[in-house]
Symmetry: C2
Subunit: 407 residues, 2 copies
């Protein structure tokens, strides 16, 4: 008998019919002799509806009261799923975050989980009941309702699995696993049977929407066996997220090609090459609440250097205006920008032991006449910034060059 | 400095604009130096929407899970009202039933309040904050969410006022007080400045929709000063519900004329006049889940009697079929029914000391040629069943005869 945590997102819970489908799937796992804890999100669209309602009362809603309100979306979902389970004759009991309890800090809207009580849930599991837990929410030490931030239901699932030492945490979504790249761009893209936590983290931060980054970090930290599956397909093993070295076989050099289409690039030319210049440029950007992605500073020449970074395309104009305001103060010569760029990344833990990966990547792109504008690397990924017109071509040739189209 | 509990129903909370109106009214009381606790219902229509959703998952929804779901309506309301208050610069904090805590028994869907914790609320009040409490809901000793049943928010308001020994509990609704009768039928109907608990109870059970019966009972039991006011009018003292004898002046003989249009009458003719016959007739009616209102059995003659009762008109056919099924068994002769009758009642604590009220009522009706079909009395009310075509006429002449049109 295994203990399985299953998490279903808003799309899977999007209508009474879909909730009934979830109930049937959960009941099947239960009938096979497993103990099952289900974590659910609000019905799709509900959280946005509640936030819009809140903004009609207060332009910038009070964080504590917003959490009181938006946590109701998941509370409705747990009640509905328990009813659907009881309707097909399966005993089930719902838990809000406060009832579990999922103890968090008091950072409303972005609370961190501190501790999870497991005694009540265990009693229900031992009595043969399915336990249905509201995702995304918790309670602080003073009894205030908190929420974990967007995508927090994945984190709830992983945290519950860690606290109860579940055999597996299954994240059900609208795709049937993690792919070598987006199948809409490369038809030969393959579903991966396994991927390491580190790779999954890079894929998530590089634009893959399959799993929330925080839940992957959490699963890695607490060694939770995490699996991504489709809630719409009847069959399939999905993709298992593994700890590196768990398996005897050698890891592939590259596991996937990630990309981000919505990039923009900004360069300050001729800034003095002196300590503190990066802060002088990026401080005002951070103050304007603009997230910076890649940052590149090359060696200086004649006491001056060029400083480049990328931002989300929607913040390009705002970032440019900020830079123009400080250009004189920092002693730069000129600002250049390009909002028609994209980022393509090769990710794989195998590159640690294969130093030739970067040069292979650059050669493949060069052979297609694709100019590389910026390069950034980590231990297990190489990212390049390109003219956006080359996005699909670059993904296709890299996918083939690294053998990702072959099983 | 007074401590005031204000309760606002679903219509008062029906839209963001209306919630802002509630916030302004609450803030005004607070600015006048009062401590204010606000109890709110779900936005109008929300509870019905949630119940309909539940029924799509389970035809007869599990009571525990239904309470988990439908309690979210009030939870959204408390968040929204606190935001509206903060938006106009007033400190406020919301409480779910479980956070107060409002401890109830475990009868899901119709829970009774056992105890209310006041320490957290008192701390907020003393810090100058407005406290906003979700009506209709509580929590049982095991931490399960419970609801108090329809109209339960009135009861929450009164119970909070009793627990905190509030100076007054104000129930805001869409009428500006309790009237001598329905102003849509009698244009001379007057708003009452005061009415006793007993009278209010009779008015409520006789069809007046102003206050939920349970909350009036509760207020009477715990001596809560209860006032009904309009949430839409800017001015007005509403109607104060008083304890009899609180005031030096003499009570009026009759305080109001209540009525119910949806009545139906059933009579079993020629039943044996023997012990147990009432149970033999009404037992099957109760088993069929039909509520019985008035019951009349006159003295027998020649060992037989006639037995009459009234039901809601919508249950007339069902009740008639039940009686036809048992007629032979109870030894009755015939069943007569009339579903075009109504009930008109005169209510007043003054009739205790004025024995002529009933005969005055009968005379007034006789003078208009209105035949009385059934009569039922209590210490402070006289009800008659009439052909429904006389409803408006009977109310008008009684309203005038008892001097209710004069201030």
């Amino acid at each position: 008998m295994a203990l399985i945590v299953q998490k279903y997102g808003g799309t899977s819970m999007g209508s009474p019919e879909r909730i009934k489908n979830v109930a049937r799937r959960v009941a099947r796992f239960h009938a096979e002799g497993n103990q099952v804890i289900v974590v659910v999100s609000a019905m799709s669209g509900e959280t946005n509806r509640l936030i819009a309602l809140a903004k009609e009362l207060q332009a910038s809603p009070d964080p504590r009261e917003l959490d009181v309100m938006i946590s109701t979306g998941e509370q409705v979902s747990i009640g509905l799923l328990c009813m659907a389970l009881r309707d097909i004759g399966v005993a089930a009991r719902s838990y809000t975050g406060a009832q579990v309890p999922i103890l968090t800090d008091s950072s409303f809207g972005k609370a961190r989980i501190l501790e999870i009580g497991d005694s009540a849930i265990r009693r229900d599991l031992e009595a043969g009941r399915i336990v249905v837990v509201a995702g995304f929410q918790g309670v602080d030490a003073a009894g205030n309702i908190t929420t974990l931030g967007r995508g927090g239901s994945d984190t709830t699932g992983v945290a519950i699995a860690a606290a109860l030492k579940a055999d597996e945490c299954q994240i059900y979504t609208d795709v049937d696993g993690v792919y070598t790249t987006d199948p809409r761009i490369v038809s030969e893209a393959r579903k991966l049977d396994t991927i390491t936590f580190e790779e999954m983290l890079e894929m998530a931060s590089l634009g893959s929407k399959v799993l929330q980054i925080r839940s992957v970090e959490f699963a890695g930290k607490y060694k939770v066996k995490l699996r991504v599956l489709s809630s719409f397909a009847e069959e399939g093993e999905g993709t298992l997220i593994t700890v590196e070295g768990d398996k005897p076989m050698e890891n592939p050099i590259i596991s996937g090609i990630a990309f981000n289409r919505d990039e923009a690039k900004l360069t300050v030319l001729g800034v003095p090459d002196r300590p503190g210049i990066a802060y002088q440029i990026l401080g005002p950007i951070a103050d304007a609440n603009i997230d910076v992605d890649m940052i590149i500073q090359n060696i200086g020449y004649d006491g001056a250097t060029d400083f480049s970074f990328t931002v989300n395309r929607s913040e390009f104009e705002k970032a440019k205006a900020v830079l123009e305001g400080v250009l004189q103060h920092i002693g730069g010569r000129e600002i250049m920008g390009d909002n028609r760029v994209c980022k393509v990344s090769a990710v794989g833990v195998g590159m640690r032991s294969h130093p030739g990966v970067a040069s292979q990547m650059f050669r493949v792109l060069a052979e297609e006449g694709i100019n590389i504008q910026m390069i950034s690397t980590s231990e297990i990924k190489i990212s390049v910034v390109l003219d956006e017109k080359y996005l699909e071509l670059a993904i296709r040739v890299l996918h083939r060059a690294f053998g990702l189209d072959k099983a």
